[in-house]
Structures are given as structure tokens and as C-alpha cells.
């Protein structure tokens, strides 16, 4: 089977179609939220949140299966946000506190997984996902949770935008900063949860961070930022999925699908970077 087939007819297979749908939905939600992550400079916090959600995912998964994982992750994300606000202190830089809180939570997750019986496969699946073997139930969960994340941001869209450009202005206009931040953090956490089956806890960062950063490279106006981020995410998902299919079905490598998808996200970013530098050179 050649690459063209992998890009087109391969999607007639039900598991490929399911993976594609999951990734497209994720790209939509993550691309939208990713623009805010970039505008607010929240990449490090996002990285931390993915680590912080991990113990919730692990504990919830062991206690109550997939539904438990969702609930656990939301609790963990909220707890992490509150813990961070509480521990932040100017004696020690915020970056140090953030790193310590999030890695501590992540190690709790690893400890939880290391005590459970099916640890090896469980840990790798939680970290890197299992894109090509996503079940129907998992796909539905992903769609539902992504929709929820998108809804949270859309409902607070006005204040998120205001907050991104003018923190003091938005506070003066009566929007509560803490509430706005918690809404965005929760929606990031929701995307992390939604993506955990397909791309896993470590690689979800690509889906969340890269499209926003890329859009910022090529677009200037707000509307274009969102459109670019979402479109690029969807394109990279499609190409990444087809490559992963070729690698695992034809070549027989055991590559986590999420990893090839993440690499395609990064590749589109590199292309945008080249475009940006070339255009800049030509215009100046």
C-alpha cells in the first residue's frame, strides 16, 4: 500500500475513521484554546497542567475505569490550580513553585500507576495514547469532553479576549480575573483529558501549543489566528495519522500514533517558521 492509499482509502477502515474523527475534534478544540495559550504565554502552565492531570487520570482510571479517569483529571486540574495560587510566593520565583507543584503531582501519578498491577502497558498508554486502537466509547468521550472544553471557552470568550490583551482593563471593567483564569485552565485540562486516549498525556502538549504558536507566526488578525490554528491542526492530524498507518501496517513498527501526529504538528510549525523568515527577508 502506498502513501496515496494511506492518505485516502485507508480511512475506509473503521479504526482509521475513528482515529481521524477523534483527531479532528481535538484539533478544533485545542486549536481554539491554543490561540489563547499563545496570547497569554501560558505554555509552561499548560505543560504543568498536563503533568498535574496525570495523577487524576491514573487514580481515576484504577478506581472507576474511563469515566473515573475523566472525573479524576478534572479534580486534579482544579486542585493543582488552587495549590499553585496558594503556594505562590515572591521569595521563590513562580516558575520554581510551578515546576515543583506539577512534577510532584506527576510523580504521585507515577507512584499510583506503579502500585497497580497492569503497570507497564497502562503507563505507556496513559503517556502516549493508543491512537489506532481507540474504541467507540473512547471516541464518544473524546468528542463530548472536547465539546465541553470548547463550550467553556466560548461562553467566556469575551472576557478571555479582553484579559489576553489588557489584564487591568478587564479587571476594571468588572470581569473577575481569577474566574477567567480558572475557566481557561479548566478547559485546557479538559482537552488534556479528551486527548489522553488518542495521543496520551505527554504528546497532548503538541496539539495544544503548536497550532497557536504557528498561527501567531503567519496571521495577524484575531479571526485568522483561530482559523489558521484549527486548520493546521486538522491538516497535521490527517498527515500524521496516514504516516502512522503506513509505519505500523506496512512497515510493522510499533510507533505510538500520537507521536507521528505530534511530529507532523512540529513539522508544520517549522514550515511556517521558514515561510515567515523568507517573507520577512523578501519584504525588507
Amino acid at each position: 500500500m502506498n502513501m496515496i492509499d494511506a492518505l485516502t482509502t485507508a480511512f475506509q477502515l473503521p479504526f482509521m475513521m475513528r482515529a481521524l474523527v477523534v483527531l479532528l475534534v481535538l484539533s478544533l478544540a485545542a486549536g481554539f484554546i491554543g490561540v489563547f495559550i499563545n496570547l497569554r504565554g501560558l505554555e509552561f502552565l499548560t505543560d504543568g497542567l498536563t503533568h498535574a492531570v496525570f495523577p487524576g487520570l491514573a487514580a481515576g482510571f484504577i478506581v472507576g475505569g474511563k469515566d473515573g479517569a475523566l472525573l479524576g483529571a478534572i479534580i486534579a486540574a482544579t486542585a493543582a490550580t488552587l495549590l499553585l495560587t496558594w503556594l505562590s510566593n515572591r521569595r521563590v520565583g513562580n516558575d520554581a513553585t510551578t515546576a515543583i507543584v506539577f512534577t510532584a503531582l506527576f510523580s504521585v501519578g507515577v507512584l499510583i500507576v506503579s502500585t497497580s498491577s497492569q503497570q507497564t502497558s497502562g503507563l505507556e498508554q496513559l503517556l502516549f495514547g493508543h491512537l489506532l486502537t481507540v474504541t467507540e466509547a473512547e471516541a464518544l468521550t473524546t468528542i463530548g469532553v472536547s465539546a465541553l472544553a470548547l463550550a467553556v471557552v466560548l461562553l467566556t470568550f469575551r472576557r478571555q479576549l479582553f484579559r489576553s490583551f489588557d489584564e487591568e482593563g478587564s479587571a476594571a471593567a468588572g470581569y473577575r480575573v481569577l474566574l477567567t483564569d480558572v475557566a481557561l485552565n479548566v478547559s485546557i485540562a479538559l482537552v488534556v483529558v479528551a486527548a489522553s486516549a488518542a495521543v496520551g498525556n505527554l504528546l497532548v502538549l503538541a496539539v495544544l501549543i503548536v497550532p497557536g504558536a504557528l498561527a501567531r507566526l503567519v496571521a495577524v488578525r484575531m479571526g485568522y489566528l483561530f482559523v489558521t490554528a484549527i486548520a493546521v491542526g486538522m491538516l497535521a492530524s490527517w498527515l500524521g495519522l496516514a504516516t502512522s498507518f503506513t509505519l505500523s501496517v506496512d512497515a510493522g513498527f510499533n510507533v505510538p500514533g500520537g507521536a507521528t501526529v505530534a511530529l507532523f504538528f512540529v513539522a508544520t510549525y517549522v514550515l511556517a517558521l521558514l515561510y515567515r523568515t523568507v517573507v520577512k527577508q523578501v519584504r525588507t
Partner: protein
């Protein structure tokens, strides 16, 4: 000597080294950057192993590449160092995972690389740590004064002719050495806990720089030993236990600082560090 005793020695060494360099990293507010360093060592080590070179060498080269790319990307609008390190970080992980999957025979285990494999450490690992420690101590003996001056009084140090670029470069090299040799203990994800937490805990306990310089290594070594003992008694992951122990020390130190002077909490200006 049993494998556990060897692991104890390696942990004590790594804990003290990470604590020592952590003081500089925390005071200069370079934790975020060091975090990106720890993550990017992963593909470096995988590539080096595929090519048949030493893992440590690959990790060092990957760190240097990261520094170079970051400084170039940082000049673009809308691509702050955060966005740039975020992208590189994911690129690092994804690349590492794919390369590892494409070369199933290479002896880099994802689990042990991400979460540490202290119990499997060899005398070669110990030798690397000792060499790294020696380099860091040597650098601090030679340039410690300048670094100290720079950390306290940035404009003053610049006025006295200390180049900000070179001090930052020195800090970066020390951080790279520490990250590369610490990874066996806590892994690529958790090494940052071992670097940041002891130093941040020491910062909560004292305002004096020289006290921090020995307190942080002691806390780091204690976290290592306690984590290892806990992991052995309860059958838990060693790297995660060590990282968690360091975080517990941080929270205890934070609590102690709150008790000692409740007014010196978040809102007030911090007291400056003294020599």
C-alpha cells in the same frame, strides 16, 4: 557492595549536585528553561544510542542545540521563549518516542529514561556524576565570586565589568551538566523537581546565600536517600519517590517560613538574599 548501596551513593551525589546548581538556577529564575533542557535530552540520548555514541554525549549536544534554537526563535514576535520551548519540548518527546520505536533494539528504555532508573545505576553512572560534580565545583571556585555578585546586584556587576552574557552562559553550562548527570536518578520528567525543590526549600529557610549553598545540597541528598528507602520499603517507583520527597521538603520549608513570619507571605516584598 550491593546494587542498593551503590544506588544510595549515586543518589546522594546527584541530590547534592542538583541542590547546589539548583540554588543558582532558582535565584536566576531559570527553572522553566532548565525544565526544557531536561525534556530535550531524551531525543538526544536516543539519537546518540542509535548512532552508537554515548548517551550522555547525545544529551549534552541536544541541550546545546536547544540553547541555539531558543536564542534564534526568541527574536520573533509572538514567539516568546515560552512558546519556543513548548514547541521544542514536544518535538523532543515525539522525536524520541518515534526514534525509539523505529529502532526497537536499542537499549534506551522510555520508562527508565522518563522516570529514572537509579536502582540499575552502574559505576560508570557514578563516575559521570563525580566528574560533573568536580567540574561544577571547579567552576564555582574560579568564578563563584562573579556569579554571586551578579545574582545579588545585576546592575552593580555589569558596572563592575562582569559580562551578563558570560555569567548566563556559565549558569547554562552548569545547569546542562547537572541535568545530564541527574537523569538516571529522577528521569527526564522529574529531574527538575530534584533541581528546583531543594533550592527553593532552602530559600524559604534562609536569606543567606552561603547557607543556601550547603543547605540545598543537604536537602537534595536527604530527598534522594529518603525517597530511595521509601521506594524500597513500599515497592514504589524510585524516581517518583525521590521527586516527591523533594517536593515534600519544599512544602515543609514553605510551611515553616509561613509560621515563622506570617506577614512575609505572597503580597509583601521579599527580603533580599544576603551573602
Amino acid at each position: 557492595m550491593s546494587y542498593f548501596e551503590r544506588a544510595l551513593i549515586v543518589t546522594i551525589l546527584i541530590g547534592s549536585l542538583a541542590g547546589l546548581v539548583g540554588v543558582l538556577v532558582v535565584l536566576r529564575r531559570r527553572v522553566l528553561f532548565t525544565q526544557a533542557l531536561t525534556h530535550v535530552t531524551f531525543p538526544g540520548a536516543v539519537i546518540a544510542t542509535v548512532l552508537g555514541a554515548s548517551m550522555q554525549l547525545g544529551a549534552v549536544l541536544a541541550c546545546l542545540a536547544l540553547v541555539l534554537i531558543l536564542s534564534l526563535l526568541g527574536q520573533l514576535r509572538g514567539q516568546g521563549s515560552q512558546a519556543a520551548s513548548g514547541v521544542l519540548l514536544t518535538a523532543g518527546f515525539a522525536l524520541g518516542v518515534v526514534l525509539q520505536a523505529l529502532n526497537p533494539t536499542i537499549p534506551v528504555q522510555i520508562d527508565s529514561y522518563l522516570f529514572g532508573s537509579i536502582l540499575a545505576s552502574t559505576w560508570a553512572d557514578a563516575a559521570y556524576v563525580v566528574a560533573g560534580f568536580a567540574l561544577v565545583l571547579l567552576a564555582l571556585l574560579i568564578w563563584g565570586k562573579q556569579v554571586l555578585f551578579f545574582l545579588f546586584d545585576h546592575p552593580g556587576a555589569m558596572a563592575a565589568g562582569i559580562s551578563s552574557f558570560w555569567v548566563d552562559a556559565l549558569l547554562l553550562i552548569l545547569a546542562t551538566i547537572t541535568v545530564v548527570v541527574s537523569i538516571p536518578a529522577a528521569g527526564a520528567i522529574l529531574a527538575i523537581a530534584l533541581i528546583a525543590a531543594p533550592a527553593a526549600a532552602a530559600r524559604h529557610l534562609t536569606d543567606r546565600f552561603f547557607v543556601m549553598m550547603w543547605l540545598a545540597p543537604v536537602i537534595g541528598a536527604c530527598s534522594g536517600v529518603l525517597g530511595l528507602v521509601v521506594s524500597r520499603s513500599f515497592g514504589l517507583s524510585a524516581g517518583a519517590s525521590i521527586a516527591l520527597m523533594a517536593a515534600i521538603f519544599f512544602v515543609l520549608a514553605w510551611g515553616w517560613a509561613q509560621l515563622r513570619s506570617p506577614k512575609a507571605s505572597a503580597k509583601t516584598t521579599p527580603t533580599a538574599v544576603r551573602a
